[in-house]
């Protein structure tokens, strides 16, 4: 896991945890997203392929503002259901959840209903993703 800078150094930076879910190893997209978010001044912690449980655990451990998952297999419904459920159970709904990869058009409103803030289909310009996160990420209050 990419551990990133200490919290003192990263105060003010939006902290994003990114992950691929399950066995899907199509990672060209997430590689570019990670790069674009870092270029936009965010702190990105990429944990590779994980299951929903590990994603939620890591997002709590790393105290991130945003969780971004990438799925290019047809498993999104199962994993997003589990992920959003675990987010609720662990009471970390304040972290923004965004999804990239393949979600069938008919299912997009469904996953938003489950707690996904935004879905970015293939072909979405990277700036659209980084600007969305920059505008909508929950702000950490000065402690």
């Amino acid at each position: 896991m990419d551990s990133g800078e200490s919290k003192a150094m990263s105060e003010g930076k939006i902290k994003v945890l990114t992950s691929k879910l399950g066995f899907d190893i199509h990672n060209r997209g997430i590689t570019l997203v990670n790069m674009a978010l870092r270029d936009a001044g965010m702190e990105v912690i990429f944990i590779g392929n994980q299951f929903p449980k590990q994603v939620v655990e890591a997002s709590i451990q790393e105290d991130v503002d945003v969780i971004g998952v990438s799925i290019l297999s047809s498993t999104y419904m199962e994993y997003i259901t589990e992920l959003t459920q675990l987010i609720r159970e662990n009471r970390v709904q304040d972290k923004m959840l965004v999804v990239g990869g393949i979600v069938l058009p008919d299912d997009v409103s469904h996953i938003k209903g489950m707690g996904v803030a935004e879905y970015f289909p293939p072909g979405t310009p990277l700036t659209v993703i980084s600007e969305y996160i920059a505008r909508n990420a929950p702000r950490r209050s000065a402690s």
């Binding site: 066995f23 990672n27 994980q50 498993t75 589990e82 289909p121 072909g123 310009p125 990277l126």
Partner: protein, 560 residues
């Protein structure tokens, strides 16, 4: 909107002004306005082109090519459970498919059975579950596998057991392994499917199994098949995978050659009596076909010429089969769009044409819904029709390598070849494919090209219809997409429970023990893998065994 309604400035055109500052291929090769004989003045017909079926094979690997036998229509297919896939194969066969290729689900490609908890969400995903020989029996029931050959597309780690399941199934049907034709993909160098992160690194899809072991397993299959299944293609070097990850056209074939060298050297170093002519003859290759039409054709022609030179000069190969690059084309999935999916049918048509003009031996044409789901019946049929119209109506197969002699195509073939050799040499200077991948260098090259593409798309320099131009808020074409059987997990769990109950578990355990021994001792694993699959050992059982021996740190493949 303004840009899309731009009326050409005819005065500017008449004065000789061009649309762009520079014109390049997708891979960045600068392209002139006009090519003439001067641009290919150094070309020598017999040295650089030759006749089809003769050195250097630029024009094709067989003397008659499509005049003798058309390329195989080989659509990569697999869905839900074995029975559904069998139905799909039968439909495609009736509709004119001439080669099979079976797509494994995510669970089995990673070496998991449906009753393993990690795999729960991956059962039946994007392919068919092939968990044991029983699945192979049902997938191919009633299909003429002695006449039409099958490509068994594999994850790198599962190539041996999945191949064994297919071979054992064929044997059981009374087909002699000495006669059986077909292909295993299982290219260790394309580890990680569409990611090139280093075969032993994260996201590599190799489950933490070191590259040397992946090479060993591939070598075992090559070696064993050379003797026992002589008509089988035990490996298909899948440059498609890293091309899709981002490398460009000439890097694709430069890399492909380097990856083949890794496997050839692995087998030769065993020094067990096999020379290159004995086993390289059965190598095949699996290339992409992208959008830059002429560059793709040039790439395929260049690849054949390069392979001939490499095998002759580096290894002293003599057999024409060992010197010939036999390849399958899979049209590029990454060029297909989520937006306006019907456009993809057109992209695929052009990519398929390029493959045919490039002299491919078999072609998979993606379906228009590729960016959204695995093919529906409708969409896969259109893909087949794309190939059939090409074969039966356009007459492009009337003559061999019709683009030969074109000033542009010959110049481009030479240029692609030159740059591909440069990339090949860079990899070899890094110590060969394995070291270049493990060090992260290949990943850097891949990422650099992927970024370049992204920058070009964002700036509009690279236009993608429907994505960064001609966008629509509402698509007029709304196909219905394939959706997995919602009960697939339950069904597969029930089937595997039934399998495990019905087989002789004593024999399975004994076979697995023998396999463990062979694996640890460095013997060829195939005889014991064959024995185990005949007793209906499962993919999960075999992979658990190998994960335990070869990648103990990652234990049961908890995602590394």
């Amino acid at each position: 909107m303004e840009e899309q309604l731009a009326i050409p400035d005819m005065a500017a055109v008449k004065s000789g002004r061009e649309r762009k500052e520079s014109f390049t291929t997708t891979s960045g090769i600068p392209v002139q306005g006009v090519y003439t004989a001067d641009d290919i003045a150094d070309m020598d017909y017999s040295r650089d082109l030759g006749m089809p079926g003769k050195a250097p094979f630029t024009r094709g690997i067989f003397p008659t090519m499509y005049r003798g036998k058309l390329w195989s229509i080989r659509q990569f297919s697999g869905l839900d459970a074995a029975d559904s896939t069998n139905e799909r194969f039968k439909l495609l066969y009736q509709m004119g498919m001439t080669g099979f290729a079976v797509a494994p689900d995510n669970a089995c490609i990673m070496g998991y059975d449906p009753d393993m908890p990690e795999a729960a969400a991956e059962v039946g995903v994007d392919g068919v579950g092939m968990y044991s020989m029983k699945d192979m029996e049902e997938i191919f029931e009633g299909l003429p596998i002695d006449k039409i050959n099958v490509a068994v597309i594999q994850g790198i780690t599962t190539a041996c057991p999945h191949t064994a399941m297919y071979l054992a199934m064929a044997e059981k049907r009374g087909i002699s392994l000495k006669e059986l034709g077909g292909t295993t993909e299982g290219d260790p160098c394309s580890a990680g499917g569409c990611s090139v992160s280093g075969p032993s690194g994260p996201n590599s899809g190799s489950l933490g199994i070191p590259f040397s072991d992946l090479l060993r397993l591939c070598g075992d299959l090559v070696e064993w098949c050379a003797i026992n299944v002589p008509k089988w293609h035990p490996v298909s070097f899948t440059s498609y995978n890293y091309r899709e990850s981002g490398v460009n056209a000439y890097q694709e074939i430069g890399g492909m050659l380097s990856s083949a060298v890794a496997v050839i050297d692995e087998v030769l170093k065993r020094d067990r009596g096999l020379g290159v002519d004995d086993f390289v003859s059965q190598f095949t290759f699996h290339l992409a076909s992208h959008n830059d039409f002429f560059e793709e054709v040039a790439k395929m022609r260049a690849a054949r010429r390069m392979w001939y030179k490499l095998m002759g000069e580096k290894y002293g190969a003599k057999s024409p089969r060992a010197l010939s690059l036999r390849f399958h084309i899979h049209t590029s999935g990454s060029t297909l769009t989520y937006q306006q999916p019907l456009n993809n049918a057109i992209r695929v048509a052009y990519q398929t044409l390029a493959a045919a003009l490039g002299g491919a031996q078999s072609i998979h044409s993606c379906s228009y819904d590729e960016a959204l789901a695995i093919p529906s019946e409708d969409s896969v049929l259109l893909s087949m029709r794309t190939q059939q119209v090409l074969q039966d109506e356009t007459n492009i197969a009337n003559t061999i390598d019709p683009l030969a002699g074109s000033y542009f195509v010959e110049w481009l073939t030479t240029e692609v070849e030159k740059r591909a050799w440069e990339f090949y040499r860079e990899i070899e200077n890094h110590g060969g494919w394995v070291k270049a991948a493990d060090s992260g260098w290949l990943r850097e090259q891949t990422d650099r090209e992927a970024i370049k593409h992204e920058v070009e798309v964002r700036s509009g320099e690279k236009r993608i219809v429907g994505v960064n131009c001609y966008q629509m808020t509402e698509d007029f074409f709304k196909p219905s997409f394939f959706r997995r059987d919602p009960d697939i997990l339950e069904k597969q769990r029930a089937r595997i429970a039934q399998l495990k109950e019905g087989r002789d578990n004593g024999k399975v355990q004994e076979a697995l023990r023998e396999l463990a021994e062979a694996t640890k001792k460095g013997d060829n694993v195939m005889p014991s893998v064959m024995k185990a699959v005949r007793e209906y050992a499962t993919i999960g059982e075999i992979m658990d065994l190998w994960r335990g021996i070869l990648a103990p740190a990652s234990a049961r493949g908890r995602l590394v």
